[in-house]
């Protein structure tokens, strides 16, 4: 059955149509949804889209920056206030994909995708959903139960800006250069006070079905100086509590073996 398309000029109108429809999806850049349409995916029968300029805005306020969910990876790369996220957006797909792929769509992408979301998770982003006011929800909570949000619309993503730019680190490991998809991705936010790490957040993507936190690594880092001994301890627990998957790129065993190596390189600041 061919898919139906409904267009609205506001996100609110689109949200109402989504909640009324039986099996509809909100269209971002379409890099995943149009694939599904081309494949004849029967799990949804309607695409809902909104031509709402507000969903493509970037606003800096106080210690953070609020990104419209419809902002593309290419726009992230080009935006002055998002330079801390540019190295992340730059490694999503090739140039054409980056002109289309949105930040909002990345939140819903399954392995091996979700590189940008791993960075948002490490930075402790918050999401605002259309039709739900207030402070929005933490990205951790969103990812824990992501399927629940498939029929809703993310309006904005608010990201705290790292006070020390060097505190945010990111590495995407892929086999094909320069573009390949991730074997695994690591994003780490390691703020320090008086030389010690306080409030470490470390996230992986492609180490499970969706981006997740490496809580054992965070515990090993917290309160410590980022020295050789701490890095050894963090690497030793790189996969504690994590069950990586096997896919066409790598087996679970391989992911477990190399995650510690890449984590160690990221923490020592070693370039490959």
């Amino acid at each position: 059955m061919p898919v139906k398309v409904e267009s609205f000029d506001s996100l609110d109108g689109a949200a109402r149509a989504l909640s009324a429809a039986r099996s509809a999806r909100f269209l971002g850049g379409g890099t995943l949804l149009m694939r599904a349409v081309n494949d004849g995916d029967q799990s949804f029968d309607t695409l809902v889209r909104a031509v709402d300029p507000a969903s493509r805005q970037v606003r800096s306020e106080g210690d953070g920056v609020t990104i419209g969910a419809g902002v593309t990876m290419a726009e992230v790369v080009a935006h002055r206030d998002l330079s801390f996220l540019a190295p992340v957006a730059r490694v999503v797909g090739g140039p054409a994909v980056r002109n289309m792929a949105t930040v909002g769509g990345n939140l819903f992408a399954s392995s091996p995708y979700g590189d940008f979301t791993a960075a948002l998770l490490a930075l402790g982003a918050r999401l605002e959903l259309v039709g739900q006011g207030g402070r929005g929800i933490e990205i951790d909570e969103f990812l824990r139960d992501r399927e629940r949000y498939v029929g809703s619309i993310v309006r904005t993503i608010s990201v705290p800006r790292p006070r020390d730019p060097g505190a945010f680190r990111f590495a995407k490991v892929s086999r094909i250069k320069p573009k390949g998809i991730a074997l695994l991705t690591i994003a780490a936010y390691l703020p320090q006070s008086a030389g010690r790490i306080r409030g470490a957040r470390v996230a992986y993507s492609s180490m499970g079905p969706r981006p997740l936190r490496a809580t054992a690594v965070e515990r090993a880092l917290d309160g410590q100086y980022l020295d050789a001994a701490t890095i050894e301890q963090a690497a030793a627990v790189a996969c504690d509590g994590i069950e990586p998957h096997t896919d066409g790129l790598a087996s679970a065993w391989y992911r477990r073996e190399v995650a510690a190596v890449h984590l160690k390189r990221l923490l020592t600041g070693e370039r490959r």
Partner: protein, 161 residues
Amino acid sequence: MARKPLQFHLNGSEKAVFVEDGQNLLDVLRRGVGDLTPKYGCGQGACGTCTVLIDGEPHLSCLTLAETVEGRQITTTAGLAQGADLHPLQKAFMDNFAAQCGYCTPGMLLAAKALLDRNPNPSREDVVEAISGNICRCTGYEPIIDAILEAAKSRGFRQFG
């Protein structure tokens, strides 16, 4: 099924067509308008041979919902040559044997045009990055990279646009 009117500019001339719900831009260009220069490779975003420029920026037409291009400027490989004069990129591709089977060529040309329009003096690394979403199974990429660098150096590029 719903059919919707759609208007856009293709290589500078106005087009008005009807599109079906869910139809992608590649299909509209090939079947609706009859421009066969954008190719269908995978329909999955993986090969890049369907690349077109939308308002000057490369997009994958197979993953672009056709009705989202209302009022926009589309460039395909059919819009590169001016009459009998090949575009400097096309000429450089010929001179450097950058097309073998030719299937990747339309996408490569447009990815390269988007790069050179923005950055007339690219490094080799810039070129590799610009075509990183385009797969070629024949040439091994080196002749394509050489051709794009040569076109950038050729003086004709800017006049051609």
